[in-house]
């Protein structure tokens, strides 16, 4: 077996040193009746690189890859061009096969990268401090809700969710809240050109620990965060802003500067591929440093070594499970390290100038696409405002149409019926995302296909 270096000669020499007759003698503590005799049933014997690759390639080919279609999906995962050097860097063994940097003297590479990543995320979000990343956007969103509960010292139990929060994020919050006795308020969004900020504000009361608002929201619209922040703060509640498309923040004001207290999101769009939903990159930041010790997750900080040289360490770990055990702020024991590296490398390549250009190019192409699609009979663009994703209202069930169009290698977008099953009022909604990877030809392909199926 190619991954196992011991030879039979090694094995018997080692058993001699140990003083055991055979390897089974080392498993003496496993009860005889539970021990498996011989190789496990069902599983084939070991296989060559060639054989495994062939099997996996066959499975891979059964999928329609985004690059092989006219592609318009978003809703929390976006297709952007990833520079070739990003994948090269994350495959360097010193990053790929390193452990969590608990031994800082021999992990400065990972630690300095994390410090740079934290700074990039904090600046992008308009916040004071970002952590070293979470599993993904949806779990970061829940962790933010849990943190708001800690800030309120458990005295406020109501969590107000915007109806236009990604429904899977809302579902994760609802699932976890069942076990923490938080009351979750929120329903599906209404199909209006502007987000219902006033309706949301009306639901905030003195018992509200936090308000959770997506920016841009699940329908692609931009809510008035500053107004919501003011209303939340008046009732003593925190505003949690959720962003699932970080490229947008190259074009629109950051949630932090608009008054959000905790900003969380999905970082996949920068540096991390679609990968059928994971691994992704949860981003987590707080606007005010006073909340740092309430944060979940790993944090990297600057310090000095014994010779006075600058260096970095994981810090404030007294919040974490390996020190605090049942009193920890979270049970989390990982970050999305390699995805954070990919994000950071891509962001370094972009720089401020590149990010702004990327954002404006996304917005420009999305505007052109919206205008073109609006000309299709039976199609209306819902949004007053959007960044690179908007909602179309079709004369017909969007989900069925999306399915039909896959036969022409068009991945037309995410139907609201898929996102909000059972909500008949949303069934004709189609969420369409346009990025720098979308060509005019793709848009034309989608437009003419819609013309045909809606005729």
């Amino acid at each position: 077996m190619r991954y196992l270096p011991l030879t039979d000669t090694d094995r018997s020499a080692m058993l001699d040193v140990i003083g055991a007759p055979d390897v089974d003698a080392l498993f003496v503590d496993v009860p005889e009746e539970a021990r498996l005799n011989g190789p496990i049933e069902g599983l084939p014997m070991h296989a060559s690189e060639m054989a495994v690759e062939k099997h996996m390639r066959r499975l891979s080919k059964k999928n329609l890859a985004a690059a092989d279609a006219a592609f318009f999906l978003g809703a929390g995962a976006y297709k952007h061009h990833i520079p070739a050097s990003v994948d090269h860097i994350i495959q360097r063994g010193e990053f790929l096969t390193a452990y969590t940097p608990y031994q800082p003297e021999i992990a400065q590479g990972t630690l300095q990268m994390l410090f740079e990543f934290q700074t990039q995320v904090a600046r992008l979000y308009g916040c004071a401090v970002a952590n070293a990343s979470m599993y993904d956007g949806s779990t970061a969103c829940w962790e933010a809700v849990a943190m708001a509960g800690r800030v309120a010292r458990g005295k406020k139990r109501k969590v107000v969710l915007s109806g236009a929060l990604h429904p899977h994020y809302a579902e994760v919050v609802r699932t976890m809240a069942k076990f923490t006795d938080d009351e979750i308020a929120g329903g599906p969004p209404s199909l209006t050109p502007k987000p219902d900020d006033d309706g949301l504000i009306a639901r905030i009361d003195e018992d509200t620990s936090c308000v959770v608002v997506q920016y841009p929201d699940i329908l692609g619209r931009l809510p008035d965060l500053a107004k919501i922040a003011k209303a939340a703060h008046e009732k003593g509640a925190l505003l949690i802003a959720v962003n699932t498309e970080p490229v947008a923040l190259g074009a629109v004001a950051s949630p932090g500067e608009l008054g959000a207290d905790i900003v969380v999101g999905e970082g996949q769009a920068i540096g991390v591929g679609l990968q059928f939903g994971g691994p992704y990159l949860g981003l987590f930041a707080v606007r005010d440093e006073k909340h740092v010790r309430m944060m979940p997750g790993r944090l990297c900080g600057e310090t000095q070594d014994a010779e006075g040289k600058r260096g970095f360490v994981l810090t404030l770990s007294t919040r974490e499970q390996h020190i605090r055990r049942e009193k920890a702020t979270s049970n989390i024991c990982t970050n999305s390290g390699l995805c954070a590296l990919a994000f950071s490398v891509h962001m370094t390549l972009l720089g401020e100038k590149g990010l702004r250009r990327l954002a404006m190019e996304n917005h420009r192409l999305a505007c052109l696409a919206a205008d073109r699609l609006a000309k299709v009979p039976g199609v209306t663009v819902l949004n007053d405002s959007f960044f690179n994703e908007f909602t179309l209202l079709l004369e017909g069930d969007a989900r069925g149409i999306v399915r039909d169009l896959t036969k022409r290698d068009i991945l037309a977008g995410v139907s609201l019926g898929r996102l909000f099953p059972g909500n008949d009022g949303l069934a004709n909604g189609l969420l369409v995302a346009v990025t720098e990877t979308t060509t005019e030809e793709d848009v034309e392909t989608l437009a003419s296909a819609l013309e045909e199926v809606l005729a």
Binding site: R35, P279, C300, G351, D384
Partner: protein, 523 residues
């Protein structure tokens, strides 16, 4: 015992008083291949970009009046500068690719590169989680096939694939237990956890709303079955047991523990962090386990990545399977694999799910790698993985126990990791000092001060992907350092001497946290 290096090769012997680190100072602070690297914020510029993108063109603006006006403060680098920045940083890291990584309980083994290649196939890497299911049947088949082999290897009934990491999997398992108890109207308040458990266990139980109580251990480092039985009762929701445990020992009484917990109406959670020691040798399902997470990076070798991403599928017993979270995959009679979500759960008779743990379907990029690993090893190879991991650990244990105190050594073989204590070290020298001295010898330190039940614990897990020659060299290094610790060699206290950094001031880092770079010129 053989010599450090079978070939007899040794680096040049330093001349007295002239070792590599005591040469003249350099103008750059670099030492030949040891290169200092400034922060991105010190070398980059907001006007520099390494990506060719068009100048913003005018045109319509539909940002709703929320246009960004403030600067962001994100410096950029050109592509050559970017490659150099990160390549230089990478060289300050220890990694499995560089050498043995003896971290007990963390299982740092070789990461096959075939798996990297497979994960990047366009059909896996470039598919969106919300594509119509007919366009992603192959991806669903990967999840389903991996799930099938995980059940085969564990002898369990169902599996939740969506948890994003081990601790997320623990939470999933405990939430299944809570949902099952609630379904029978049985509000129980306590989860029992041994003191030797990973910190995530009590943190998870507390997060799920349980009170955490300790399970006492025997002097041999195992769960005290009689004491556990005495504590069981109608208030105990379940136990969380790591098997093999964090002392590196198999819980011989696992079946009796499970039977007792079940008889008292509770459930058994097994922390599967150490499943790599028993894969193909014994199935947790045969020991009465109700839920167990599997850290794919430990047993099935997905890369650790400097701290993640992980993946923590949870295998479930028949009693807990109905409560597993959405989404999951199911293969129908015609062999077609379906994605089961909220809307079609009833069709697949899964109406009691406790909810959803994450936005999408789990760590697909880790599933492809783990499946490739399982298929590469096959039934014979996986059994060999467990046997070689245990053989290597016992070889380390027996080669060092005359030099280092092995508290559980006399009671029999260990599993995949060997546990030592600091007993016999000279006054004033600690496990930390020994660990830092191992850095100078070219190794990542072993797990220190864990488990908590052994004083100055050192937990060594070599894994199955180390050769005998690599183990022999490691043993020589550890013997030498242990000897110095016993002899009171004061130079250990200032180790490491040869790493890119000396010991770092963690107290200062925590007292006055600097968690983001602030431009000194802006202060």
């Amino acid at each position: 015992m053989s010599t450090p290096n079978a070939s007899g090769w040794k680096p040049g012997t330093p001349v007295e008083g002239h070792n590599a680190m005591s040469g003249p100072d350099t103008a750059t602070g670099n030492r030949a291949l040891m290169l200092e690297e400034p922060l991105l914020f010190e070398i980059g510029h907001v006007e520099t970009t390494g990506v060719d993108l068009p100048e913003p063109k005018g045109g319509t603006n539909r940002l709703g009046g929320f246009d960004r006006e403030a600067a962001i403060g994100l410096p950029g680098l050109s592509e050559p500068e970017t490659i150099r920045h990160y390549t230089r940083l990478s060289r300050q890291n220890y990694a499995i690719d560089l050498g043995l990584f003896p971290l007990g309980s963390c299982t740092m083994k070789h990461n096959p590169r075939l798996n990297e290649k497979i994960a990047r196939m366009p059909g896996f890497a470039d598919v969106h989680p919300l594509q119509p299911v007919d366009t992603v049947r192959g991806a669903l088949e990967v999840i389903n096939e991996l799930a099938f082999w995980l059940l085969d290897l564990t002898g369990m009934h169902g599996v939740a694939m969506s948890p994003k990491a081990g601790a997320h999997g623990e939470l999933c398992g405990i939430l299944c237990i809570r949902a099952a108890l609630e379904a029978r109207g049985d509000a129980r308040e306590v989860i029992l956890v041994p003191e030797s458990a990973h910190g995530t266990n009590p943190a998870t139980a507390a997060f799920a709303g349980y009170k955490v109580e300790d399970i006492p251990a025997t002097p041999e480092g195992r769960v005290d079955l009689e004491a556990l039985k005495a504590r069981l009762g109608p208030d105990v929701a379940g136990v969380m047991i790591t098997n093999p445990n964090t002392c590196g020992l198999f819980e011989r009484d696992m079946k009796a523990i499970s039977d007792a917990v079940h008889a008292a109406g509770g459930f058994v959670y097994c922390d599967g962090a150490n499943f790599n020691a028993i894969v193909g040798k014994v199935r947790p399902g045969d020991l009465g386990v109700d839920a167990m997470h599997i850290n794919l990076h430990k047993t099935f070798s997905t890369p650790h990545g400097g701290g993640g991403p992980g993946s923590g599928p949870v295998v479930l017993s028949e009693a807990l399977s109905p409560y597993g979270p959405l989404p999951f995959t199911a293969r129908d009679g015609d062999g077609i694999v379906h994605l089961v979500e909220e809307e079609n759960a009833a069709e697949f008779e899964h109406t009691k799910a406790f909810g959803r743990m994450t936005a999408f379907h789990g760590q697909m990029g880790m599933f492809t790698r783990a499946l490739a690993y399982i298929l590469s090893h096959g039934a014979d190879g996986l059994k060999q993985v467990a046997e070689d991991a245990v053989l290597n650990a016992n070889y380390v244990l027996r080669s060092l126990e005359d030099m280092l105190d092995a508290p559980f050594g006399p009671s029999g073989p260990c599993m995949h990791e060997a546990l030592f204590s600091d007993k016999g070290f000279a006054e004033g020298l600690s496990t930390l000092d020994l660990a830092k001295a191992m850095i100078d010898e070219g190794y990542h330190p072993m797990t220190m001060y864990f488990p908590l039940v052994v004083h100055g614990a050192m937990l060594v897990e070599p894994t199955e992907t180390e050769s005998k020659a690599a183990l022999d060299q490691f043993i020589v290094a550890l013997r030498s350092v242990a000897e110095r610790a016993k002899a009171g060699d004061e130079s250990l206290k200032t180790a490491p001497h040869y790493a890119p950094r000396r010991r770092l001031d963690e107290t200062q880092a925590a007292r006055r946290p600097v968690l983001a770079w602030n431009d000194p010129s802006m202060a």
